[in-house]
Symmetry: C2
Subunit: 322 residues, 2 copies
């Protein structure tokens, strides 16, 4: 695991973009330098290694996935009017709307350039997987924005949205690695499903942490989703299973034109969640999806030793507290 | 020529995008439906045909180039705050900033999907050409925005900018067609240069028409570039060759906090241009670049009959009055 990450970090030490025009490429370099967990490129390497592939051939496509992820963050941050990313100014906060749009665009193109460094014989397949996941990420972001305007989002809708926005990229990263290793189509489909399930469980885990995590270990303020009126699994589930009175209370809290002071709002929303035992319902759903994904992993034709590396990684993701 | 265009128009009658989420894909369909001259996809087919390729194999990559062009227009219109495109509301005017960003993004991804329908044996090459031109278009748009803030843009800078923003896509469209026809690298490079020169000449032609065209035949208001303070070849050349007095007059007219009434401003700018014979200087530069591009065309190893089709097309572009 650390070995994979070291390879990615070393590769990312090289400048990714041309020097000129600096006004276009510097914001892209800045975004890439903000760090992050580099989960997605690691998955590409893991997917390749699982099937005995040469991971040096997977390195550039792995960077492609990371650059793509960062492109989507630049544009999402702008659409969400987010001021900070990883504790630093977002691209649009620092350089304005136009630079965020155009630097994001060129990052997306650059992701394809990195992907195109894969061997010709696997290129059509991995390009097709990449195109599919890129569309899904856009669709997921669109549904996420649409959902903020709707009051009838179901649990199923929500799982579909996070599947598109988050899980498809994790599944696709694994699959790209597998295809570089020339895994058979069946196993490539299975590792996609494993990654997709893992990504979904991971997002539910994140939803739970944002409201019920420990502020010290979580590393950021608890309750951010509540303050921003974000429709997470917790809110959607509470609106589904709550009494009329509880639903009214939540809708009231989320729709106030002059919101309550943050601490007060968080306290009252959490009170409803706790009455309904929402954290446990979310944990159950997370575990159900997680366990299904592990079954997919187990069914893959690869050595137990290699599968255990992926299992340990998955377990680590689910135990993460920040 | 009409034959190529008919193939493109027929293909574009099919919906390009999935139905859902409609909020994401409908604006993309709308943009594609606004029409335009479809020059770029025609160039792909022409480039393929010139080298005896099967143009049915070039059709999807030709659409890729047209979808890419429309993606860039969606984002450029937003960055330029343009209200209208081809006489209709721009995407961001109709659906807002966020939809314009995200629908544009998914159009870019879709362009790659269409490109990926090319045969596997030519895919690595055409993907590489496409990535290169896509980066150049972004770089050109960035330089264009940067130039609006600068007062020291030279003729050379300007030609570089329009080369990146406009000409690279025309050259690249030809080259993609040529590579689908498995033209040799030398001829593929020559047709790129032909398209690049033609694209540059075409943009200079456009700059001249916008200020000196006939309003009736041009089909839109003359002087739009002057009103929007756009730095075109005409302004850059006038600032270069004008007397101190003429330069002061132009800088005064372009930098007024409260601009003059449009007709008055156009009249005074045109007066300086006419004193300096700028339209002729621009025509000379246009013709010089155009003639060089025709020499490139002539040096290509293909039949005179086929080259004459491209020549007629190029002549038509230069004679266009709207």
């Amino acid at each position: 695991m650390e070995n994979y990450l070291r390879l990615i970090d070393e590769a990312l030490l090289q400048p990714q973009f041309p020097g000129e025009p600096r006004s276009l490429y510097y914001p892209a370099e800045y975004m890439m330098s903000l760090g992050g967990k580099r989960i997605r490129p690691v998955l590409v390497l893991m997917g390749c290694d699982l099937f005995g592939g040469d991971i040096s051939k997977a390195l550039q496509p792995a960077l492609a996935v990371e650059v793509f992820h960062n492109f989507s963050l630049v544009h999402d941050d702008l659409m969400d009017n987010a001021a900070l990313r990883r504790g630093k100014e977002t691209v649009h906060t620092r350089w304005g709307r136009d630079i965020a749009i155009l630097s994001g665009d060129v990052m997306l193109v650059h992701a394809y350039e990195l992907l195109a460094k894969a061997e010709g014989k696997v290129l059509p397949q991995i390009l097709s997987v990449f195109n599919e996941l890129a569309k899904r990420v856009c669709e997921g972001q669109q549904l996420d924005m649409d959902f903020q305007q709707r009051n009838d989002v179901t649990e199923k809708d929500y799982l579909k949205m996070i599947g598109l926005k988050t899980a498809a990229l994790l599944g696709g990263s694994f699959k790209i690695g597998a295809l570089i290793a020339e895994a058979n189509p069946e196993d490539a489909a299975k590792i996609y499903d494993f990654g997709y399930g893992l990504g979904t469980a991971f997002q539910l885990h994140d939803d739970i942490l944002d409201t019920f995590g420990d502020e010290e270990t979580f590393g950021k303020k608890i309750g951010g989703d509540i303050i921003e009126n974000k429709k997470t699994y917790l809110t959607i589930k509470a609106l589904e299973v709550g009494t009329a009175e509880q639903v009214t209370e939540l809708e009231h809290l989320y729709n106030l034109i002059n919101p309550l002071p943050p601490e007060e709002k968080i306290k009252r929303v959490k009170k409803v969640f706790e009455e309904l035992n929402i954290a446990n319902l979310a944990l159950q759903k997370r575990d159900e999806i997680y366990n299904n994904s592990i079954q997919k992993l187990e069914s893959i034709a690869a050595t137990t030793e290699k599968k255990n590396i992926l299992l340990a990684f998955a377990e680590g993701l689910m135990q993460r507290v920040k």
